[in-house]
Symmetry: D2
Subunit: 313 residues, 4 copies
């Protein structure tokens, strides 16, 4: 055990106080950064042009990561710039940068570290991922806002209330999946949701919803994809007798369990573990891998690239 | 995502409903088992004698694990027996078994799978281990009762209330550590606590308390012991430039951070991670490793053996 | 670095001296053990009967592991007995034990720790698994004999000579796979091979060969099965964009890449890794996982059980 | 098993043919790159200046990694540039770059991907790390030359001959460590050695040797440093009852086992593992972690930074 080193307290919704975790969020609060994510055909001079743009406006680059896929001649870049010394107000950065982007035919996006994206959680019965994400948000570990939690079951009402999240119980009535999904979309829209997290949501989304929200829905699948796609992956894993089980966080696409993978992890199992043990061991993986994937997205570290992702460290 | 396979709901304290996780707890509820843990000098015939005792009373062994430390001629055994077919009522098992134990000079103990030990949580400011354990308890994953949560800070009152746990805020006043510890012991006694879990409790316990509760206090230390004992292990790890950080769950002893290790785990870090990142990454390890250690203890899988433990799978 | 603790030397074939690793092999050489592996329908009294048999003959059990699959009411047992005190000569153990086995309808087998099974290696071009196994054998880590190495390419002749192994270059001529396989079987038979190890052998075995050698062929597949069965798994993994790659050691069956899994492991990869990197990272996994699987088999720790295995620790 | 995808053969020293692994080495052989490693105080404009220099000479950056330690205001950079399009011959790059380096007070170095550093191996009795490195070199996985292997024991002569490496048996005679070390230095000098790898060399190097070769000696220590420094770390680990054991590759410094860490890894152990098992399990870690560290150094990915390292991916 340890003396000292305890963390600061922070006030939470509904008068509830959680002791905060004194993590990076607070540590860099005073120093807002802009983050450029860009993909383009590979060509000499891209980094020089981007960094000259930053330097020309007095900016200090605090993190730059670049990746070239030589097989496909594709170039990927993430640049994080301290706004403190930049001679451009934040709303002028994108217009000023646009000509550079155009010159290199970039697909690009600009984010700011003090922007907390509005996340809509979708869940079914399993509570662990929902609670974990809400706890990380309220403890200050994830720089998000979670205005709303939607479930096709009623189980999460009390937790939603405690965490200060609006709860919508949207069951599928008389098999009307399209109707339920329409209500889900409405709620997401009403709350200005920017990122949907499927925190063990057990309904297949329509291709239309997946397309509309392309690159903005993160799902956790409880298998080491592409193994055990579809239903009951822990049963499949037990049946096959694997010696490790895994989970996969990925962007949802119209092709079920086939979207670009953001993160994966595994845990060792043995003949001693029955399906219940696999589910129990898997839950811890599910929460941590989903949280890592959400964090990577929120920190503007992910670029989708065909069926794959670039996830900068 | 997945269709079907959703879990059952279970009712929680204070009218709050958590969707349960359908784990092993429920799965074996109908089949209570007795668990014998024994250590003795190694000698031929021990297993034969124990299993003959079980068979002689009509019992079915559903799990038996044995370990012989040949260097020290020490023998360790865990036997789990289905009570259904045993021709002894549970209170008669120990007296009937005593002669066998005596014959082999065993140190032994008998537990029952339907006994939920009363756990007292001690915490300081960090909330993640407390919440994680309470959530696993309420979700049905850990077969424990948690009647009381003691903290030397006030931060956990709301969480305690929500989870339905009595909360005692016992700060150290005017440096009177002995006085505070006396109050802690009183509360533990009043609640009939059988296992104390230091869920990131940042006060050093007195040797007297450690001795009184020997083998019944589990601590989580946020380093890969024996590296970085004492204060601020994540700072020490960062300073040393290690490429993996770890955590250690161990039984508390009078020698600080030196008790028998129950479980450990690590996570990869790099030069990109500052101390805040180490703390964030470490938190996930702390919760999972502490929960695994508590589970091993509660399932009667741990035997202390000098400075070491035998932890049956 | 470290002072002292250096290992003993041991003399190798062909006058070559490898410094030995001072491992367990030497350490227990003086104490031969018998190992019983048994599977049967679950019933009360099996362990009692087996251990009474051992105790009745004066034997000391130095390791016993048991597993019950409650879903399928199947019982699995591994018992290791020191031969020193047993009042039966080793050739009388099986006949004496047979009635016990019969009583419980056991599928069983008896092995001895001083028996070094004769292993036939099959390889194609990649050398890493072949060299690794030969090195572990010659260094005393694996209790095997390797009289012969068969390859459908000529690349391993020099290595075979150096390690003192007979080498057969058996290419497939004019597409005559059946003819080549017939010659392979002949060589295996001529050398009294007991276990075949496919050390990156890139030819599909015929169902007949798999059946004839059922439970006695170990293959290493360079993917985390059941993902990426078939050809070019690293290419498949790269194409899919997984964040971990894995390997699988399994018993070969007529169904390609579908045999009972003995061991698996994974390593983290990222968008920075191209197919060449995956192959390089995978090679280290392939050698260690294949060696672990061979070791488990040779130590009589594996039981095949439908499509699955029980692998005792 | 797998059809197709087999690798090319490559001819090895002394007429011995190893099937090559078709790894990255060959894949990029046609495209030589220059690699700049630089550390400096953090200041705006460094990346812009460096990349403008490259672009100004027509160069294409194929990999750029940067790290800022904000706590210490230190800046680290690795840039890899394709030489194909650069308008400078390679010997003119450093002089041309020097003014940029000076402007930012850089500590820097320039390497070329087709330069294979001359590595001197030092070993004692254990053969596994020596063989592993020689095998990776001969198989084309490590871009090094290994002209000489020095050992204080005679065990490696045959292996050295087979791999085509000059072998020096330099024992410590009559306790004259200084004399032996003088001979070691002489041999290193005679062979133009650029990097010394202590492949389980069990003698403590003198502070003078460590200083002379600062940043150019890589050692593998068989514990998870800083745990278990000094002698017999596996014995120490067993005694302490840890649940994971580890190894550490680090640059050697005058302070024993305290040099900057390059890489570490761990493996799970249990009460079932005695010291022999720990040594066996540890060996696989030692070979892979040492090889990864050598590879990182050889690929110009490591920067020493006080007691720590920056290791670019």
């Amino acid at each position: 055990m340890q003396v000292g080193g305890e963390a600061e307290a922070t006030r939470m919704a509904h008068g509830v106080v959680l002791a905060a975790s004194g993590d990076r969020l607070g540590a860099v609060a005073s120093s807002t950064t802009a983050r450029l994510l860009a993909a383009s055909p590979d060509r000499p001079g891209i980094i020089a042009a981007v960094t000259a743009f930053v330097a020309g406006h007095g900016g200090n680059i605090i993190d730059l990561q670049q990746h070239t896929d030589r097989g496909e001649s594709a170039f990927f870049l993430r640049v994080e710039v301290d706004l403190a010394d930049l001679d451009l107000p934040r709303e002028k950065i994108a217009p000023a940068f646009a000509p550079v982007a155009e010159r290199f035919a970039m697909r690009w996006r600009l984010g700011f570290s003090d922007h907390r994206p509005r996340v809509g959680l979708l869940a079914s019965r399993e509570p662990h991922c929902v609670h974990d994400l809400l706890h990380r948000w309220r403890g200050g570990e994830l720089a998000i806002e979670v205005p709303v939690l939607i479930s096709n079951h009623a189980d999460h009402a009390a937790a939603a209330e405690w965490f200060g999240v609006e709860h919508h119980h949207l069951p599928i009535v008389d098999g009307d999946k399209a109707g339920q999904e329409a209500r889900v979309r409405e709620v997401l829209r009403a709350h200005g949701i920017e990122l949907v997290v499927l925190a063990r949501y057990m309904q297949v989304l329509s291709p239309e919803l997946c397309d509309e929200w392309a690159g903005r829905i993160i799902n956790i699948h409880h298998s080491f994809l592409p193994s055990f796609q579809g239903a009951r992956p822990y049963h499949q894993a037990h049946e096959r007798g694997v010696k490790l089980i895994g989970v996969t966080a990925h962007y949802a696409t119209a092709a079920l369990d086939d979207g670009p993978i953001i993160d994966q992890d595994v845990i060792r199992v043995s003949h001693r573990d029955d399906v219940h043990d696999l589910r129990r061991k898997g839950r811890d993986l599910e929460t941590t891998v989903l949280a890592r994937a959400v964090r990577a997205h929120v920190d503007d570290r992910t670029l989708i690239y065909g069926r794959r992702t670039v996830v900068f460290d």
